[in-house]
Symmetry: C2
Subunit: 216 residues, 2 copies
């Protein structure tokens, strides 16, 4: 995972990366291991020891960078979110603007989930952190950030119908996509089937959206 | 909570209700307390002791009916699901058939969430149980049952477009509604605001659906 270049730097969590290349690399390695552990076990069941084991690093090293499971989860979510926003923006950059750009959103999201298995778990981790008083504001802020980005796409798609509220459309799109993900994961154990169902369900969602955004 | 009358009896979980009125009433009381505890804490954090406390009954009583947290969660989910399916069917019964009936689905779902606060937590509990090997098949089966019911409504609405697959539409509707619920709960602490956002987001979803089911 690389630090986002176009997104404003997320709130710093855990210790800052060391001044050395080595410290930053260790931090990334821990975050990747933690993302895998949270994806596999969920936030509540995951333990710091699981992250230590998955990272292949010493306990001291992990605790040097992150003093608690909560700070680790916050860092994973913050940095993954920034990374994914960048990925989606980069995928959309090829499409100039307007309705075509909004329509490129679904393939961009599906592509993101094909390339990064941890993307499947972000909605659940966001929900888990929204249930802890200390991290609830962050979970809401990151969700709002996704929604704002999607709302911009909706606005650019120039809805002719003034009864269409871009933020409401964006909230529905973000929620619907996350919910579709969760549902297909409940229905099937097979990642390929889940990916296929996410793709076809997402395409249907965009087709339904098109009818509202650009009625023929 | 009353036992469903029109839904096939769910797989029996926990001990059967005692032969006395009293035993059945105790069982219902424990299930309602457990539903509240799971809604408040989530499955992983909830403990049998929390259920004992919330029910106001003795530990012995609770364990007489349910020997584990897992069996309790399975019973809550199974019976709540059956109850909610019945509620939604009863709300739709007034609308004869076709597209109007499908359109009545959203108000029925919103009404259900207004009348029963535990309905907000069912998607999360389903997801939690889908993560445990022993209860994963049940979580998938109950989800499939919702989807089949919605798919019947979609079929009755007579989509003229043969590229519209009723089960795919139903999967998207069920997933989208659950995801919208989860998202508005992350965004706001206020139950009234969440209910309002669920209603307007759900209405938008049905408006988008209408454009696909019955294009003008």
């Amino acid at each position: 995972m690389t630090r986002s270049s176009s997104t404003p730097a997320p709130r710093r969590v855990g210790r800052p990366p060391g001044p050395t290349q080595h410290g930053a690399a260790s931090r990334e390695r821990i975050l990747d291991a933690a993302a895998a552990v949270f994806a596999r076990l969920g936030y509540d069941k995951a333990r710091m020891d699981d992250v230590v084991e998955a990272s292949g690093m010493t306990k001291g090293s992990v605790y040097f960078h992150f003093t608690s499971k909560e700070s680790l989860a916050v860092a994973v979510l913050t940095e993954k979110h920034a990374h994914w926003l960048d990925q989606v923006r980069a995928r959309l950059a090829a499409t100039p603007s307007g309705t075509e750009r909004l329509e490129a959103l679904l393939p961009a999201m599906v592509g993101l989930h094909r390339d990064d298995p941890y993307a499947w778990a972000v909605a659940r981790l966001t929900q888990n952190l929204s249930e802890l008083p200390a991290t609830r504001p962050l979970a809401a802020e990151l969700t709002r950030r996704w929604i704002d980005d999607v709302a911009d796409l909706v606005r650019d798609a120039l809805p002719v119908d003034p009864t269409v509220d871009p933020v409401e459309v964006a909230t529905l799109l973000v929620g619907a996509f996350d919910g579709l993900k969760a549902t297909v994961q409940v229905l099937t154990d097979d990642p390929d089937t889940a990916a296929r169902q996410l793709e076809s369900g997402g395409a249907l969602l965009m087709r339904m959206l098109r009818a509202v955004i650009a009625p023929s």
